[in-house]
Symmetry: D2
Subunit: 445 residues, 4 copies
């Protein structure tokens, strides 16, 4: 079991300034409250199987951690008048980026009275000297309607976060004392290194991460922002594939969705559309040939219903793509499982003398660049505000996220270690098998 120290959040120092938010400090007066550092939220993983379980005693198979709750503190670390806050968005697009930027700006400005807020352009590149990118001045007027636009108004890029010293130089030069980093795994590893470097220089800068992973594969948190919108858009593509498949003789619809290491989008999309017959994810191996392999199962399905729909996560079947020599790179670049399956399936049925009509859809850019659904907008709005509360309280090296429906502080080092995965023995995947009618396993014995 992970100890409490593993989840302790770093603070820049004692908090001596009264928050301007004027919330209540008393429970029972029916007024919204400040949050105390001792307020905790429980995260649980695994089963509480236990013949004769007693309440409060978890079995050995259950991991439990108590996490610090997010929210405004009565005493804050930074004097709002002295704050210069920076926001940077990194990596691939994800629905909700502009909602997050908007929320951070508005919480700083409206709740705390911060008046210097700067957008860093095009990811960490915005800090690097060779690009000479000017800052973007942010205020409530500038961000008022940006949530109606996909993408990120700040711009984004990949990489750059490893140039820690130069970024710390820039932060020093710009006199930033607060940095919000919106990005995935790599971005947050970068922000950790930056925070370390800033500490080495004895600079009091709060580095607060807002985790972005459209794949929904972040440890501990319920879901990542943009994930539900992604499922919504992916579901549209599956509906298209289904209409195509159903309208053709032996029609096969094949849709590749995001999910490098984790099949959450694929599984949710299959469940959402009620129209997929196979869902292939990185966590579960499958054979192509043999009596239990995908191709045989597909034949059976076509014989019975004349059409089929397959949802495949981009990270699924990587052993097969390499085996087929599709990807010669040797590095972690993914083989293109979508195109691979398209060709293999077409060739297989051609060889069998059974012409099929396969339509392959790769909707990824349409998914990534969508505006956030209302559910995701709620989440982004709350993520941004809670990130601001954390930073104003002088907390650093942490991510903000939702755990069992409550917002918490997650120390960055604890989160970036691993990724969350679909449990092949859990209820989500089981319900997806139920819904698709896919056999328990596509592996031959």
């Amino acid at each position: 079991m992970l100890g409490k120290e593993h989840f302790t959040v770093t603070s820049l120092g004692p908090r001596a300034i009264a928050s301007p938010m004027q919330l209540s400090n008393t429970y029972g007066d029916n007024l919204a409250n400040y949050v105390h550092d001792d307020d905790r939220q429980r995260w649980l993983k695994g089963r509480l199987t236990v013949p004769g379980v007693k309440i409060g005693e978890e079995s050995a198979t259950t991991e439990a951690v108590l996490l610090e709750k997010a929210g405004p503190r009565a005493q804050i670390y930074f004097n709002p008048a002295h704050v210069h806050a920076g926001i940077v968005t990194c990596g691939g697009l994800c629905p909700g980026l502009n909602d997050v930027v908007r929320s951070v700006v508005r919480a700083l400005w409206n709740r705390y009275g911060v008046r210097r807020i700067s957008g860093i352009r095009y990811g960490y590149h915005g800090f690097l000297p060779e690009f000479a990118l000017p800052l973007m001045t942010l205020n409530p007027d500038v961000v008022d309607d940006i949530h109606k636009i996909g993408g990120t108004v700040l711009g984004t890029s990949r990489g750059g976060g490893e140039r820690t010293a130069e970024i710390a130089d820039a932060i020093e030069r710009l006199n930033l004392n607060m940095l919000f980093t919106v990005g995935g795994d790599g971005t947050q590893k970068g922000s950790l290194a930056i925070a370390d470097e800033l500490e080495r220089r004895s600079l009091k800068v709060a580095v607060v991460g807002i985790p972005k992973t459209i794949d929904n594969d972040l440890l501990y948190i319920d879901r990542s922002f943009g994930f539900e919108t992604a499922v919504e858009k992916a579901a549209e593509a599956v509906s298209a594939a289904h209409a195509e498949a159903q309208s053709a003789m032996n029609g096969v619809g094949l849709v590749k969705v995001m999910g490098r290491d984790s099949g959450f989008i694929a599984v949710h999309t299959a469940l959402a559309t009620h129209e997929a017959n196979f869902v292939l994810i990185p966590e579960v191996q499958f054979d192509l040939d043999g009596p239990k392999g995908l191709l045989t199962r597909l034949e059976e399905r076509l014989a019975k219903r004349n059409h089929a729909v397959i949802v495949v996560a981009e990270g699924a079947g990587q052993d097969l793509v390499s085996a087929a020599g599709e990807d010669a790179s040797g590095n972690s670049k993914l083989g293109d499982i979508g195109s691979f399956l398209k060709e293999i399936i077409t060739a297989h049925f051609k060889a069998k003398g059974l012409p099929i009509n396969l339509k392959y859809i790769d909707p990824s850019y349409i998914i990534r660049s969508a505006t956030a659904s209302p559910t995701d907008s709620v989440y982004c709005e709350r993520l941004g505000a809670n990130a601001v509360h954390a930073a104003m309280a002088g907390k650093t090296r942490l991510l903000v996220g939702m755990v069992n429906n409550k917002f918490v502080h997650l120390p960055t080092p604890a989160v970036v270690e691993h990724r969350s995965k679909v449990d092949p023995e859990g209820s989500l995947y089981r319900d997806a098998l139920d819904s698709t009618g896919q056999p328990l396993s596509l592996l031959n014995d």
Copy 2:
């Protein structure tokens, strides 16, 4: 703290039949598993405040319960060949009803091989002799595309559930041994009484509820199906109100949303749109007049920004509506807070010589009858399948729902006692205040 017995699920009897689902019974083989009755999911309410908290020791302010996990059992109670299952939808419309019906039918048919499935027409009325409503024969073909249509293909109605004896007669006559009741509070109280009556008659009928409350006010569960779709549609109405308000001099947009006792839709909608300035809910009283009252705050807002948007839950401000003599009934029928506010606000500013331009929108039918969003579709698909697993295992007098992201069995009596409410001192409402800029309280001292 509620004891374990409070959450014990009733079974019709020992389970002697092997499930036809052919899942795995072993953890570690990477194959989807059956669920054991001892598998538990923790539900927690309240804060774990605790200077010096120890893991596994909750403070006195925290209530914890362990709930039985939902899912397919290796041994089932009913022989699928002998099953005649009935499904009934009751009460007002809610997005996802057809998804639930579809899922129940498909899980029974495809997973268990049940071949007699009947839809009860127009709610509990479908059981009553005077309506003489024929059953609707259900199978996968009939339900294949119903999730693309709003409303419920079975039809629905209010009431009738109190005529327990007649309903039990009908169930006996129809030889149903399984009844899925999709409905709210009243419906589930009815289904409890029906289950009691059936037990009195020594009939082995599994009565499994699928809780439906668009207001999202069910105890214990994370959210009810249709809730997110409702927020999505309500958000569209708020956007319309915002466009109207912003386009007029001193424009005021007023939107009434569902929420008789609980303001969840109102609060989420305000957060989702980022466009509301006031959100009024049943849980939080407000004054109209006086320096802190709504009308004064609205004046201030208009003076500053020339337009304002108010989201009001239908159950908010009931003390005011009555006070204004708007509702003479004396019973629990709600006063029409929307029309009341429309008139009061218009009159107030007219008296002040400041003409405003108020647009009032009541989108409730458009919300209720929407098709489910993909997120809700996922939820309905899983709810239906898990309800079927419960019924096939001979479990009865229970509701299926999601708690901390896992599906569980909730004994009906434990759930229908109270309703869930927005906690005025909790983070959700606080974040809504943050987002709207609404003052901490609209009550004068």
Copy 3:
């Protein structure tokens, strides 16, 4: 037949400046061309019935006019460097207003190099001294994303256009030489009076109208902008009403849509949804009682199918509303036919002892404030650009619109005389009767 002079467009004077657009003047070089004033588009109304018709000879029942084509002229009247253009949006909201504003600004700026463009705030009120409303400076950056927002960024209001002298004073003071008026009938009558007053003062100001009528009742033009979006949104409300009706015993869905004098939205909505059973429009009288009256027909429908959907235009059945004493005003204010029908129908069936379940939806604000559909966006984009071409060419007292799929100049006086109506004997209404199954007439003999 209307003579050519009736459709002659006014010019401010000879055009001596070469257009900066650099289009081609030659047909046949495969390059986009300037338009000549002699280019004409034919508008035809009525039937060309004709035993032995000869091409080019219209029968007496056909009215034909030749209209000046819109588009950029090779020679223009205004020197772009001297232009100060104003844009004003008036009256009720309509989808596409911001698209039009955006298009006018971009065409002026990008195509002609105009650099002084001002938005008049809140309709004609923006010109009036007592409101002291500052102008809004417009350029491509300001308008870049406004089409993603409903309403109008300029603000709007009703009336004020009759204060011609004061408006002309303001135009003179602001040194505007170009005014784009986006609005309906009243607005355009106002703009005509303004143009007359400006001419009286010998001011060379091009007043170009962009007709806005969500009801689609403008003479000559194929359709008005926003109309298709309105139908789209109205169709959603009808779908909601249909889901409600179909889900209830004797469910009746009643939807009121816009259409004061003309039933175009109602008829198109009925056709679009395929779900309406009755469509009631201002152009066609109907009885309530009697063997052919609406109530009897509704009874028949419910007896046969258990549910019914009625679409009613707000201007329909005004004789009945007054007869029922619903509207005591005596002026042109419409009686509320929606609420009237709701009460009459409910009372009728109650008296008959047949309880029905009526749901009434009035979606007008949601319709008006929607963002434009892509089809309407195309139209608005082209309307705005062609309005600019007309103004730069020194044309005035005209409206821009689409006739038989081509953009033309319509002299304002010719257009504002009457309104276009649904022809009860034409194919559109007939096809709507076909689609709904509504009897040929709801009038008793």
Copy 4:
């Protein structure tokens, strides 16, 4: 000028049966009317440029034809009790197919009392012996909700229409006396050949085509069904490309849309989104290199604004694709201009040392399989009903379509001769250049 005989519609014989529709035959009684064969609608192409034009005298540059109006006739040819109608959908998917099928079935059943209606499965293949495909029985219940599903419930396929004798055999064997063919160019050429063969056999079968071309390239008609929906969906893809482009340093969004010979979708999509900077269509050649070529213009755009969006029709730039040796086939198969541009553009900027970030989207399957927008639903509803009216009147060898906003009968031979194209010198393309800011020509001198 095309003579009247060119547009004369074939009839199977005299009409001796009174229509059961009970419309009015008198104009002026305010009741919907039957249509007479002499009722005409004018179609005009080209300009009416004419110094001193007189009404009724078209200049030499204008082509005019008078077309027979569609609609119900008072006397019909077929006795409804003897009718067996078949419907077949052919070729690629297009939004609205199910709306058309639904409308044909409902008009036959509800308006004329026809009770034998059969769906031919999977296009013309459904007639061919080797597939042995059973008919699909159609009635209002079967088709009630199919418009909420994309694709075609009948299934579709390409080709088969050339096997005229076998199809005629099948029609004879099935005793069909009415065939509705929903399909494009090839399909309608096939239906013409079938009609000829049936006439040769002296079989009285009405063959009525409902033209389907998502590219909107049919001669004479205003637009084809599904076209507006296609633009709507294509616009979403362009918005995605724009969000991607705007969010990256030197981001380029490239979207390929349908349009083999005609650029209507591309041009309308560019206009609808207001976000495209280049629109490339089959009708207008362009150079890649040189001072005016696409690559240079793209460089200029990126230098000025850092991002760019290109919309390309699939049939554009075919000379370039071949020139680049991308397509060795020599036949009419299109080269893949999208992938070609992607590679050429990327290589070009790489060679220049200016790294760009190009995202390529090909949304065609998502477009084709969408459900119809309300505007298209209206059109499909009316197309289907008018096709039924034509067939019941014994008319054959014709297509139903909308010309200048009225439905007409178009003799199939006259329509399938050529395709409609975007006129590079017309106002549509010119307005697109205006909107995109694309230079007048991308050809070097």
